[in-house]
Each structure stands twice: as structure tokens, then as C-alpha cells.
């Protein structure tokens, strides 16, 4: 592969992202899976970088999961989305930033559909008015929250406490980046770097001193695939996808994986335990797995936040090997302690994959 050529192609797919004043909408599931990620995003945006980020407690699901699971028609999802846009309009914002990749894909798909079929947009406006007497403006700019962290990656690097470099050897850490399918595979022009060369996470890794791992199944789905995981009879497809990715990345010895989707970090993290149970195989060093982080968690580590305040103890795969490689200070005894070091018991640890 000619890396210079690849870099040039990437550079042609840059988005012109507004620098401030964003209306933020959270994901339905991320706060359960990786509870500090969205909290970290608001912390970085507001307190570290001093930007204006607005959220409202009236926000609901975008309908994306139900739409992709075939349990509600697109017109219903469109009316739900129209209400979200009405909330943004009422709050006086024009730049819309969802935390969820499926929401991002859902919004992109709906805006594109309305562009092609204006009569459908008129109908949805009428539906919304009949349902809740609201009106809306379409966002001037739609970005995913990883686009914003990508946009501010150098500002974050300038405040970094720990780069993605092993302080003992000086070698850059080798990071696998995994992009959610709904980010750019449906509408390549909406993503940083398009569908084939998404640069959104690779850009963060490079800015923060790490080395991006290129491996054969880099663009393969994580295995979540709504209809695969949610139907138990299909779960074998889900884990087989994940297994395929791990087999493919294994020879490159990645130190960590980062993702920008709600489902990907969950499945790349949790399925490592199931793969270990079913095949006895682990992919990290010395019987550990490969730590899987969201980009907000990684940004938090880079900025020097305490790993246990980032919720890293909720990961299935132990993150300590990565923390050691980054030179992050942490208190191993505090991993499972609650607020004010209160004892809230310890989880049962698996035997098939090494954990702390």
C-alpha cells in the first residue's frame, strides 16, 4: 500500500466543522454500556475547551434501533426525529451533534430522504404538528460527536498529560480504530474521510502520538448488526464477525482498540470473553484481552483523568495493560470502590480471560 497516496485521499474528505454552539443529543444505550463516555464529552467540550454545548432533558430516542430492527416504519422514526429538531429550534441552535452513530446515520438518512422527497417532509411536519403542536428548522450542520473530538484533536493534544506513547520504550502505541458502520458506509460524504478511508479516529490516534494499525478486516462490521444480535438464534453470526476481526488483527499485536459507535466497543469488548470461553483464545499479552475504549474514554486518559472516573472498571477486558503502557497512574485497590471509597462489592471475574 502506498501510504502517501492514502494520506492524500484522506485529506480530500475533510469536513468543515463549525467550532462552537452545538446542540447535543445522547444515545439510548451508551450510558449503560460505557457510562462516563458522554459525561467526558460534555466535560471536554465545556470545561476543557470552553465551548457552548446545550442539552435538554426532553430529548428521547431517535427511533434508530427500532427502525433498524424493523419494528417501526420510517415515517414514525421521521416524526420522532422531527420532534428532536423542534427541540433544537426552540433552544435556538443550528448545529446538531448526536452521540450515537446509528442516530447519526438515521438523521443523515432522513435529511437526505427529505431532500429527495419534499412532499414527505411536508407530511412529517403535519404529523408533528398534529401530534404535539411543534414546528422545526432542519439543522444547518449535522456532525457526530467523534467529528467534534476529531476537530479539536490538536487542542486536546496540546493539553495532553499522557500521549499514546510507551514512556519506558518511547515507542508509539499500536491502536486499532474501528468505525461504526452507520457513520459513513451509508452516506460516505457525511463522514470524515468517506467510507473507505474514514479518518475520524485515525486522526485522533495520530495527533495523540499513537500508530494506527492497518489490518485486512479493518472495515469489517464489529458483529453487532441489529438483526444479528437482538435475535438469539442469529447471535452466532454476531460473534463470528467479531471473531473474524480479532483473528485478522491478532498478528499486528494492537495495544488497544478505539471505536466511535455505541455497539462496537460493547461487542468488541464483551465478545472477547465469550470467544475465550468458547475457544480458549485470548488476543492480548499474557492471557489478557485487547482493551477496547470509546474515543471519549481515550481522550479522557490522554487529558489525565482518573481511569476509574472514566468508568473503565466496567469494561469486560482489563484496561490495566494499556494504562501501564501509557504510564497512567491509578490505584488498583480503588477499581471497584464506590463514591468516597465505599465498598460496593466486587464482580465475579472470569477464568478464561485474565482480569483484575
Amino acid at each position: 500500500m502506498i501510504y502517501e497516496g492514502k494520506k492524500r485521499i484522506w485529506s480530500e474528505y475533510q469536513k468543515d466543522i463549525p467550532d462552537d454552539h452545538w446542540y447535543y443529543v445522547r444515545s439510548c444505550i451508551r450510558q449503560n454500556f460505557f457510562p462516563a463516555s458522554e459525561r467526558m464529552f460534555t466535560e471536554i467540550t465545556r470545561n476543557v475547551l470552553g465551548k457552548d454545548l446545550y442539552e435538554t432533558p426532553h430529548h428521547t430516542t431517535c427511533g434508530g434501533i427500532a427502525y433498524h430492527c424493523d419494528t417501526l416504519p420510517q415515517e414514525t422514526a421521521m416524526t420522532i426525529v422531527a420532534r428532536q429538531f423542534a427541540l433544537m429550534t426552540e433552544a435556538g441552535y443550528e448545529n446538531y451533534v448526536p452521540s450515537c452513530i446509528t442516530s447519526f446515520g438515521n438523521y443523515a438518512e432522513i435529511l437526505e430522504t427529505w431532500e429527495e422527497f419534499p412532499e414527505l417532509e411536508a407530511k412529517i411536519r403535519e404529523n408533528l404538528w398534529k401530534a404535539c403542536r411543534r414546528e422545526f428548522q432542519k439543522p444547518k450542520y449535522l456532525a457526530h460527536s467523534s467529528d467534534l473530538i476529531f476537530h479539536w484533536r490538536d487542542a486536546i493534544a496540546a493539553k495532553a498529560k499522557h500521549l499514546l506513547v510507551n514512556p519506558h520504550t518511547g515507542a508509539p502505541l499500536r491502536i486499532v480504530e474501528h468505525i461504526g458502520c452507520h457513520y459513513a458506509k451509508m452516506f460516505p460524504s457525511k463522514g470524515e474521510g468517506g467510507a473507505e478511508y474514514p479518518y475520524v479516529l485515525a486522526g485522533m490516534i495520530e495527533s495523540w502520538g499513537g500508530e494506527v494499525v492497518d489490518y485486512p478486516e479493518r472495515r469489517h462490521c464489529c458483529g453487532y448488526g441489529f438483526r444479528q444480535y437482538h435475535v438469539k438464534a442469529n447471535r452466532g453470526y454476531s460473534i463470528s464477525n467479531t471473531y473474524k476481526k480479532f483473528e485478522s488483527m491478532e498478528p499486528y499485536h494492537p495495544d488497544a482498540i478505539i471505536t466511535n459507535c455505541p455497539g462496537c466497543p460493547y461487542f468488541l469488548d464483551r465478545w472477547q470473553y465469550v470467544i475465550a470461553e468458547q475457544t480458549g483464545k485470548t488476543y492480548g499479552e499474557n492471557g489478557f484481552g485487547i482493551p477496547v475504549l470509546t474515543y471519549e474514554e481515550l481522550a479522557g486518559l490522554v487529558l489525565g483523568y482518573d481511569p476509574w472516573n472514566l468508568g473503565l472498571q466496567l469494561h469486560q477486558v482489563a484496561v490495566e495493560p494499556l494504562l501501564d503502557k501509557m504510564g497512567v497512574d491509578y490505584d488498583p485497590d480503588a477499581k471497584y470502590l464506590g463514591v468516597n471509597r465505599e465498598d460496593i462489592m466486587r464482580p465475579e471475574l472470569p477464568k478464561s480471560i485474565r482480569c483484575y
Partner: protein, 104 residues
């Protein structure tokens, strides 16, 4: 092992770096026309053994290129030679089959 009620299917991807091409290369040296097969499948369509046994010269060539075992397929060939008449590329199929058998 915990029973999760579902399991992993191995990937069907063929890692060409890991494939042993030795037999294919040896056969090609002895039957050079094997290299010009275009996988059209005329041989399999004309093969009298194919419908009953799965014999297919096209599959044999492909399997050799992927380092897979061809013994079972070849054991069903009757060496009638119909495939060599059907082949639009002039692959010497019957000779190819015999050569593979000799090299196994």
C-alpha cells in the same frame, strides 16, 4: 465450557499466504494448459459423473490453487474425457486429472 446457545463459525476467507501451492505448481509444470483455465465450468456441465458425485475439473483446479484436498473428487472421475472436448480453452483436462493422481 459455558453453553451460550450459539457458537462461532470459522471464517470462509482463504489466507493465500498460508496456502501450500506446491502440488498446483508441480501439476502446472507437467500440464501447462492448467494455467489457462478461466473457470467457465463447461467441463463440469458436460461431466457425466458430476451430477452424482460432485466431480468438477473446475473445482479441482480451484481447490489446487487453494491448497485443498482433491482426492474425493478425483476418485469419482471415470476418465471418459468428455470434459476435454467441452473445454473452450483447450485445457488438457483428462491428462490433468491423471497427472494430479500421479502426483498425490
Amino acid at each position: 465450557m459455558t453453553d451460550f446457545g450459539f457458537s462461532i463459525s470459522k471464517s470462509a476467507t482463504i489466507d493465500m499466504d498460508a496456502v501450500d501451492m506446491e502440488l498446483y505448481e508441480r501439476v502446472c509444470r507437467q500440464v501447462p494448459s492448467a494455467r489457462i483455465c478461466m473457470s467457465c465450468g463447461s467441463c463440469s456441465a458436460s461431466c457425466v459423473a458430476a451430477p452424482y458425485s460432485g466431480m468438477s475439473v473446475r473445482k479441482v483446479i480451484l481447490a489446487l490453487q487453494r491448497g485443498k484436498d482433491v482426492r474425493t473428487m478425483l476418485s469419482n472421475c471415470m476418465l471418459c474425457g468428455k470434459c476435454s472436448m467441452a473445454c473452450p480453452r483447450g485445457v488438457n483436462t483428462r491428462n490433468l486429472i491423471l497427472t494430479v493422481c500421479r502426483n498425490l
